[in-house]
């Protein structure tokens, strides 16, 4: 066991775990976070996704020793001062989730996508989200919600444009 210092959602934590421990288990079991969830442990489904340095990262296959000192954002860290992120708001407006278990991965992957490209085309959304799986098959609503959030975000950054959503 070794000590590792992590910055998660703006707070600093030190944990004493084996270096190879997947970040997912540290976030869930040591820090008590509930956003990232175990889906496959193989980096295939996306349910465990967090954001590190602007990238959507699958925390189930990322050893805790490799993220020491990095800023980790989880679903819990998306809202700012009690205001939901436009993606979260769009998820509610479009009533996206069914069971909701995968939606952490959907929202976090979409966040990284929109941070890179605030106005993705339909094809870019399909491609950017293709590796993030949903077993309730809410894909149609997820894509609608990403487009809705994209409009909100571009309107916020460009004060001359109108929110069409």
């Amino acid at each position: 066991m070794s000590n590792f210092t992590l910055k998660v959602n703006g707070a600093t934590h030190t944990v004493d775990v084996e270096p190879a421990t997947p970040l997912l288990y540290v976030l869930r079991n040591d820090l008590g976070l509930q956003g990232p969830r175990f889906g496959c442990g193989l980096g295939q489904c996306g349910a465990c996704t967090v954001i590190i340095a602007g990238q959507a990262v699958r925390s189930c296959v990322r050893a805790v020793s490799t993220v020491q000192g990095a800023e980790v954002t989880t679903l819990e860290g998306l809202s700012q001062g009690g205001t939901l992120h436009p993606l979260q708001q769009a998820w509610i407006e479009e009533q996206v989730p069914q069971c909701g278990f995968c939606q952490n991965g959907q929202i976090m992957t979409a966040k990284a996508l929109l941070d890179r490209n605030p106005s993705p085309t339909d094809a870019q959304i399909r491609q950017g989200m293709a590796g993030t799986l949903c077993r309730c098959m809410t894909y149609y609503r997820i894509q609608a919600a990403i487009k809705r959030a994209s409009k909100t975000i571009t309107a916020q950054t460009d004060p001359t444009s109108e929110v069409l959503a």
């Binding site: 175990f38 889906g39 193989l42 939901l84 509610i92 069914q98 293709a130």
Partner: protein
Amino acid sequence: MSTRRDFLKQSGLLVVGLGVVPDALADPLAAAAQGALGPGPYPDVDFRQLDSWVVVRPDNTATFYVGKTDLGQGTGTAFRQIMADELDMAYERTSVVMGVTDVTVDQGGSGGSDALQTDGWPMRRVAAEARRVLLDMASTRLSVPVAQLTVSAGVVSVAADPTRRVTYGELIGGRRFNVTLRGDNINATTGMAPLKPVQQMKYVGQSFKRDDIPAKVDGSLRWAVDVRLPGMVHARNVKPPVAGATLVSIDEASVKSVPGFVRVVSKGNYVAVVCEREEQAIQAARQLKVNWQKPATAPFPASENLFTFMRAAMPTAMGTPAAVGNLDSGLASAATRVEAEYEVPFQGHVSIGPAHAMADPSNDQLTIYSNDMKSYGLRDGVARFLQMPRDRVRVMWMEGPQAYGRTAADDAGFEAAFLAKELGRPVRVQWMRNEETAWDTKGPAFTMKMRGGLDAQGSLVALDYEARIADHNHIGYNEFDTVLIAQLTGQRKTTPARGGGGAVPSEMYAVPNQRFVAHVVGMPLVWETPLRTGNLRDPNGPQVAFASESFMDELAVAANADPVAFRMKALAASTTEDSGFKRARSIAVVKAAAEKYGWDTRPSPKRVGSGEVLSGRGFAYAVRSQTIAAQIVDVEVNRRTGRVFVKRIVCAHDCGLVVNPEGLRRTVEGAMLHSLSRALHEEVTFDTEKVTSVDWASYPTLTHADTPESIDVVIVNGDPNPNRPDLPHYGAGETACKPLLAAVANAIFDATGVRIRRVPFRNARVLAALKTARV
């Protein structure tokens, strides 16, 4: 006598506690964590007491307690709507608690799309009864006959003088109703109050947003996977590497050095390792050396030989034919005869989150925190499995990854309970991905022979359906002697379940000579097998309708008729059998789908184009119980790659009275895309020792890239008297799963002239069929 009602009793005496007790009841999980509901025992909640269903607080809010679980289709929101409507309480001032075995009445949890069709009725009746009792109380309080009172949003007023008013909260808040209900069983529960005519229900028909969604998108929801208890440990299973293998020995020394190692637990062929931390348990399970003896004979054929095996197998159960007229003479006299055979492989539940549960053995009892859709069944099953009194076991239902029937056989709940009792500590069991995908319950494989005859006018005069279903030993609902740990520990049933129930076509075509029959076959290995079948969303309809509705298209081709017109002719044919107006409603639904789509009448296939991408349209329809769905899809078939892309789906859907239209639309969308995944991608593969589809790469499913560009859901009410005051609400969870496989196959034929009779329509299969046909 329930613990919950003990609290209510106390709250009636102890005015100071009024605000506290209902809040604890509104969050039974938090209450349990605080020990607030008491140390047990946990007797059944008495469904014949109004207090078991409805609590009204002094602040004029109400909580409904129902014995169902919400699998993500918004049934909890719909229950609030119908109960708030009957109670005349403002919707925003209500909440609902579901599926906690010692807090809510036993309505069986979820399954069979029956939430509104069956369980909605006692919910409405008890809420109406609470309204009646409250109006009586108001009548006494205000000294005005009930007939001269009005009620709105939980406020009772004198009709002639609205300044004279009293709230429900003032009348009953925090005290018991003490009203006994009637009914031989929970579904028959009723008081004296009549139900409201549908026309007077103001929340029914409104698209309230789902009350569970905000916490699912901001990360605040506490799921069953999130339960953490003091002193808990983590367990992982070690499954036999070959199906049917026998445990010979375990080398416990192989994991002694793993940090945090607690114990290896084994009984029969069940093996688990327990560690202090989760990643330690994972490591120990991988590292544990176990010596297994392979079975003497192969447990099953390899998946590429599955259908050959099924056709040759001696059925374990022969079906009884459902016959109309005389099939043989009908076929013999037909001007045109058509035959075809269809195949659907085993498909998995393959939940996005593998099985999991936490069990706490404190106080010589068991509290199981679980996402089991049938929490009451888990409680009963665990009590019998561990030979504990039933009232020493309770199950707290919490949200979880949905698997559409998977948790009806909740292996992890039983395993956690078993291990917790062994260790005397709270144990969390979590299956790994390869374990879940290989060993979860499977939807049965089908091979179906269809024969049909047309007369000289192209009318359908004979129809034969004969199925073989690999469904021997179909796993039931949390039975103490059929869940996997019961099988592996040797505590299993003597007689396997028959399987194959009711797996015949459901469409309402009137055919003068018809025979439907389904036989069940088994694999060589009956127990301890990863090919154990269970209820996968419907659970037979998508397979059956793939054959029956593909075949209707083949008949229409033989008749040189438009596929919709051909079906309409068969639906409109004279017959007296039309239970539940299902034929009239079928006609309305088929028409609505064709109208929304803009269907133009022509036979299939259309003239095959010359480009790389061929497009076509396909229709199919099906009935499930009283609910009807008709679907039309547009496909694009890439003749170079074989890829099938479903570009557009139109669905017309009649489930009677609709409680929440937007909730229904999303449920139908999800059901259709689930079936699209089954149509295009899903197949359990295996060699002669084990399942080889074990993750998302080897068991591919629908992705964002496959998502249709447009989906239209048309809500139909084809009841011959849609304005009647007693219009029923039917189920909607599964019907829309049924037609889609056939609709896609029919569209592929329309686009290419090539008929695919084997699911799934993966690129390689489609490409090979196109090449064979030189398309």
